[in-house]
């Protein structure tokens, strides 16, 4: 693939933490590339370094050494404010625990990233948030507050929030971790349809049955990439249909 379509490029990424007098090597030299339109799952057990990797990919943390380019921009030696701007313009976050603002309408939750972008007018913010909510199928729930929404709906709001700034990549951190199987499949189906629309998505998970809905999996173990391979992608919509009908009792 050509360099223009490279969304994320990491080379020899290392991250060392100092805990007390000990050095902990969370990432020991990771190199990979995510190209535009890919739906990548990053897998690994706890302690494999996937959270550290995600924090670096999300520009919340800086690598100890190695290079990281997002959308062609080197992240090294950026100030905090510059990193904030990169997060604001280039990245959409989806968290395990949704992280919606309580007692704030879905629409306003989705508007939030645009609030920190001075180039977006009030009206534009509103329109883009509405559009994003339509995209995740919550057109009728715009005025609902998080406590009026189910877990799956809350995660949809969070996904809409991740999409509203039109990021180059959506980073999802165990986005189905708090959801039951049926709702997880629904969310994965949503991610798949976003992928079909051309979105680039990196999905961190430790569940292999979730990873099968992505197109490529990067396995991490002890700070190294163990495997990086394409996935025989399953359709989440079909998996959903195959689930036994819900018992009402």
């Amino acid at each position: 693939m050509s360099n223009e379509t490279s969304i994320i490029k990491v080379e020899g990424l290392k991250r060392t933490f100092i805990v007390g007098s000990e050095e902990v090597h969370a990432l020991k030299g990771v190199t990979f590339e995510i190209r535009q339109g890919e739906f990548v799952s990053i897998m690994g057990s706890s302690g494999s370094g996937k959270s550290t990797l995600l924090n670096i990919l999300g520009c919340l943390d800086q690598p100890t050494s190695g290079e990281y380019y997002i959308d062609g921009i080197s992240v090294r030696e950026r100030t905090k404010n510059e990193l904030s701007e990169i997060r604001n313009r280039k990245i959409g976050f989806v968290f395990q625990s949704y992280n919606l603002l309580p007692r704030t309408s879905a629409l306003e939750n989705v508007e939030l990233p645009l609030v920190y972008n001075p180039d977006v007018t009030h009206r534009e913010r509103h329109e883009r948030a509405q559009h994003a909510l339509e995209l995740v199928g919550l057109k009728d729930r715009m005025d609902h507050t998080p406590n009026q929404l189910s877990g799956g709906q809350q995660q949809r709001v969070a996904i809409a929030r991740a999409l509203v700034n039109d990021p180059v990549i959506v980073l999802a951190d165990e986005a189905t971790g708090n959801l039951d199987t049926r709702t997880s499949y629904e969310i994965m189906s949503l991610f798949q349809s976003l992928h079909e629309q051309g979105k680039t998505i990196a999905f961190v998970t430790h569940e292999s049955d979730i990873a099968v809905f992505t197109t490529r999996t990067i396995f991490l173990r002890d700070g190294h990439i163990l495997r990086d391979e394409p996935v025989a992608t399953k359709s989440a919509a079909e998996a959903l249909a195959a689930l036994p009908a819900e018992n009402d009792y």
């Binding site: 924090n55 999300g58 919340l60 943390d61 905090k80 404010n81 904030s84 701007e85 997060r87 604001n88 313009r89 976050f93 968290f95 992280n99 603002l101 309580p102 007692r103 704030t104 939030l112 990233p113 609030v115 920190y116 972008n117 001075p118 929030r161 700034n165």
Partner: protein, 406 residues
């Protein structure tokens, strides 16, 4: 992030926890209310004193007997017998800025009309005394210079005396009543003046020719006081100097010697009387300011709680691109809005409180605009101070840890 947005976000956050917001601004509300109430009451007291002093007579200059020392021994002001009618005449002749002069001698005694009696005070003066002290005649006439020459047994009585000694349908004019053993004829009554600033009833008064009081009642030649009227307030100071010069010459006081009299203007009296009020007001304001400080600490405390409680929100905002400055501003705005709302409520409460108190104490209701502005600005500043450290803490949050915070 624009200001309007900041305010919207802050108001929302504050509304999310209405009870806590209300309670945390209570300290500021009480503090500001106390400051405003005390300031307004102080102003009211000052105004009331000023009003009553001006009722005593505008441009009033009083010459009083001063404490004298002879060979290191204090003689006491009331033993000084050097003020005389001659001094009055000299002042009238030589002090150009003085328009009216009246000697003052006073005495007290039992006033009797038939079966009724009342303990009254007699002021002896010249016919100008009424004008100088701003007494007006309700019925009858003033006494004349002729009455002064003849030590005439005539007098004018105030409304309190009228009420105490006469039936309501009785006309006091022409009646003869007694003070001590001296019978005198009532030739006039005075219009009501009310209490003065020290709570003295200004209508409990009998005014007679000074000569009558001097010779028939007290048997003395000296005066207790001289009251003068300056031509205008502007020349009051010049008039004082003139009076002092006249009296020094008359009393033969050498250069650098101690005066045996004291000349006071109404302005000085006002300053003397308001200095006490101002002192009390200042102390009370200081106490009120302490409660304001406590209120400020209350807000700081709540802001710390808020920041800790909303760690996750802060983490989220940072992860989606909020800069540290934006987070700092958000919490600062919240704290300033909190204290400003508290301040406005406190202002209203303070105004209401001082209004009610002035109503009850029948003081004039005076609003000190300067202090309202000071209170409002200090609220904003207090909010800024109270919010700064919590906001700083918020802006230094590490988003990675904050997002995991439970």
């Amino acid at each position: 992030m624009d200001i309007l947005n900041l305010i919207r976000i802050s108001v929302k956050a504050l509304l999310r926890n209405k009870t806590r917001t209300a309670l945390s601004m209570l300290g500021i509300v009480i503090g500001i209310a106390a400051v405003i109430a005390v300031v307004n009451l102080g102003e009211g007291l000052k105004q009331s004193t000023a009003n009553q002093l001006s009722e005593m007579g505008t441009n009033l200059i009083m010459v009083m007997r001063a404490n004298q020392r002879r060979g290191g021994v204090s003689m006491g002001g009331s033993n000084v017998q050097t003020l005389t009618v001659r001094d009055c005449e000299l002042i009238a002749q030589n002090a150009k800025n003085i328009t009216m002069v009246s000697p003052v001698v006073n005495s007290a005694g039992q006033v009797v009309n038939g079966a009724k009696n009342w303990s009254g005070t007699v002021y002896g003066g010249s016919p100008e005394y009424l004008d100088i002290r701003k007494y007006e005649i309700a019925t009858g006439v003033n006494f004349t210079d002729d009455d002064v020459r003849k030590y005439a047994k005539v007098g004018l009585i105030g409304q309190t005396i009228v009420k105490e000694l006469f039936e309501s349908n009785e006309d006091p004019i022409g009646k003869t009543i007694r003070i001590g053993n001296i019978p005198f004829k009532v030739i006039g009554t005075l219009k009501e003046k009310g209490e003065n600033s020290m709570g003295m009833d200004q209508d409990d008064i009998i005014i007679m020719p000074y000569s009558t009081v001097q010779k028939r009642m007290l048997g003395v030649n000296y005066l207790q006081q001289i009251v003068c009227s300056a031509a205008s307030e502007d020349v009051a100071e010049a008039a004082v100097t003139e009076v002092e010069q006249v009296l020094r010459a008359s009393h033969k006081i050498p250069e650098g010697g101690n005066d045996d009299f004291e000349v006071r203007t109404q302005q000085e009296m006002l300053e003397m009387m308001t200095s006490m009020t101002s002192m009390i007001t200042t102390v009370l304001i200081a106490i009120a300011l302490i409660s304001l400080l406590v209120g400020c600490i209350g807000i700081m405390n709540i802001m710390y709680v808020t920041v800790t409680e909303r760690t996750k929100e802060i983490g989220l905002r940072m992860s989606i691109g909020a800069k540290n400055a934006a987070i700092l501003m958000q919490f600062l705005t919240e704290s300033i809005i909190l204290s400003l709302i508290g301040g406005v409520l406190g202002l209203l409460l303070g105004l209401g409180l001082s209004y009610v108190v002035t109503l009850v104490m029948s003081l004039p209701f005076v609003v000190n605009g300067l202090w309202m502005v000071i209170a409002f600005v200090s609220c904003a500043v207090l909010g800024l101070i109270a919010g700064f450290f919590p906001a700083l803490k918020a802006s230094r949050t590490d988003p990675i840890n904050a997002l995991r915070y439970e």
